[in-house]
């Protein structure tokens, strides 16, 4: 099984490299596309709410020039083929719309009249709804994006089991640097249920090598107080790539290593590839391939979202696993909830299939789940997502799962 996992690790690396190359391919021709003339960009013109922005435009609370440019590979003097311009224009539009910062985005490229033989890129965006509402299991979230016109989010959390705040900037100081921090506590749950008082803090640092490829590390410290204080520290380097092939097809690849320090020591590695394809507006086919293995002295829990059926927590604890999940989603109903919150009701059927193995035991276990679910999505301006599912395994054991997230 470990051999299988090591080979799967190679598979993940290959998938990761393919998705990265698909992104870099925008700048030049792939092997299948005949070589064509590459033209350089003489000017990038950015318009926000019908006003032209430049690097020198004062922010005045509006979204900054550097923030908008952080979502595109277009740069002055950079060269693209004609196909490359078209592809990057569409991908830039999708990145800008997916950022949640804009109501609309148009990207046009035209040959320059003032400098024939070069291209001008026009990026036109309209500021979107920047407040954020959301929540999870027993807590609410309120936040604001694009503070000071930057690519950031400041969020406050308040609830029964999670209260605190977080701040993440994905273009700190106007460069593709990711910095973030947050602190949470589980008051009043700890008082009511007489559980240990917990303080959960995190620091995040990383950078965008390209608009689609980010890497860095999260450092999380969990301090539990009951009698005495215990501290668990997790250092998690991560690597994440998103490939936006079109409005209908998206692939996201993530690799993360978890290193535990404190009372619990150890490390594990997990990787995942998510693909979502929307052949028609109401139907989405989603697939997820992921796996993980323990490197040292810990264990992996396949609870909650990973295997959505009635296994016990002990059955879902393993040293290494490979998992495949698929969902068939139908956007059955879209309506506006008063006063005017857009709501999508998305029923879906799913399957989760995993092979798991403990290092001490050569036997490979099949873990499976087959079931149905309902996603309730409150998109802009609420940005809150709730997921309910019920699945059974081949033994007939079922479990209901609730998650405050958009998909697996």
């Amino acid at each position: 099984m470990i051999q299988i996992m090591k080979r799967c690790g190679v598979l993940f690396l290959i998938i990761f490299l393919i998705s990265v190359c698909a992104g870099f391919g925008a700048e030049g021709d792939t092997a299948q596309v005949p070589a064509t003339v590459r033209m350089s960009i003489s000017k990038i013109k950015v318009y926000l709410d019908e006003e032209e922005l430049t690097q020198d435009t004062p922010a005045d609370g509006k979204i900054r020039y550097s923030t908008i440019l952080s979502y595109t590979k277009f740069r002055e003097n950079k060269k693209f083929t004609k196909k490359g311009f078209e592809k990057e224009a569409e991908t830039t539009r999708l990145r800008l719309m997916n950022s949640g910062l804009f109501y609309s985005a148009q990207i046009e490229t035209r040959e320059s009249r003032k400098n024939p033989g070069t291209m001008v890129v026009y990026i036109t965006v309209r500021t979107g709804f920047l407040l954020r509402f959301g929540g999870g299991n027993a807590y609410g979230l309120f936040g604001k994006a694009a503070l000071g016109g930057r690519r950031n989010l400041l969020a406050g959390y308040l609830g029964y089991n999670k209260s605190g705040a977080s701040y993440v900037d994905e273009n700190a100081f106007g460069v593709p640097l990711i910095l973030g921090a947050g602190a949470f506590t589980n008051v009043p749950q700890s008082l009511v249920e007489k559980e240990p008082l917990a303080f959960d803090t995190f620091l995040k640092a990383g950078f965008f090598a390209t608009p689609d490829l980010s890497m860095g590390a999260d450092v999380q410290a969990l301090i539990s107080i009951k009698g005495g204080a215990t501290t668990e520290i997790t250092v998690s380097p991560f690597l994440c790539h998103t490939a936006l092939f079109s409005e209908r097809l998206m692939m996201k690849t993530e690799v993360c290593q978890f290193n535990y320090f404190g009372e619990v020591q150890g490390s594990s590695l997990e990787a995942a590839v998510n693909v979502e394809y929307t052949p028609i507006k109401q139907i989405t086919l989603a697939g997820r391939l992921n796996g993980g293995l323990v490197i040292q002295d810990t264990e992996i829990n396949l609870t909650e979202q990973k295997i959505r059926s009635g296994y016990t927590p002990e059955e879902l604890t393993t040293d290494c696993y490979g998992r495949f999940s698929a969902e068939f989603r139908w956007n059955a109903l879209s309506f506006n909830m008063p006063p005017c919150f857009p709501v999508d009701l998305i029923p879906y059927v799913f399957t989760d299939l995993a092979l798991a193995q403990d290092y001490s035991d050569k036997a490979i276990r099949l873990l499976d789940a087959y079931g149905v679910g309902l996603a309730i999505n409150f998109d802009c301006p609420v940005f809150a997502y709730f997921n309910f599912s019920y699945g059974v395994n081949h033994q007939g054991k079922g479990r209901f799962v609730f998650a405050a997230m958009q998909s697996f």
Binding site: K43, K45, Y47, Y103, S104, Q106, E108, R110, S112, R113, K114, V120, Y122, R126, G128, F129, L131, N336, P338, P339, C340, F341, P342, D379, C380, P381
Partner: protein
Amino acid sequence: MKRNLKKIILGGACVLIGLAGASLFAQELNPQIQKGIECHDRARAGDPKNTDALIEECLKTLEPFIQTDAIACAVYGSALTIKASIVVETNAIKSLEYLDKGNGFIDKAVTMKSDEIYCRMLRLENGIEVSRTSPLKRYSDIKSDVEFLIDDEKVEELSGNDKAEAYLYCGFYYLDSGDLDYALELFELAQQAAPDSDSGKRAQKMLDKYSE
């Protein structure tokens, strides 16, 4: 279906019926509805001191007619979208509610009288502005309005300023759809139809933007 618009301009005749607004109507309007339209147009022109009062007056004046008169229904819906822009800074959620309701009335007006150019143009303009400045996207709803004006050549029945406005917003539709070349063609026609009008000047601004 796209047509060669320059052929239409050279070959067709443009009939001047009257000044803006009133030139669009095929029938004589009820005085109350006319009053509502005037309040709407003044609010739309952006009189900051009185916009709120003008819109309330417009809504109050037109409400008795929204079930029976397509133009009243359309203007009532447009007034609600203007109201949305007034409250957006203080209450963004309420703003969305007004937008949604306003769009509903405008759609109803077009359904009541699908060959009324005024209703079609109002829906097109509101649809473009709403789609660009809110999470509500109306492009699929206004596609038939663009076809009505351009493919069915109804734009030829309009006077200079209204014609410029029609070409301008059809140009915005194609620009937002990704067809820059055709959009620029329409902006050029808008500018030629009424160079000194607001629409003509906006069209020139769009042409200048893409002349780098």
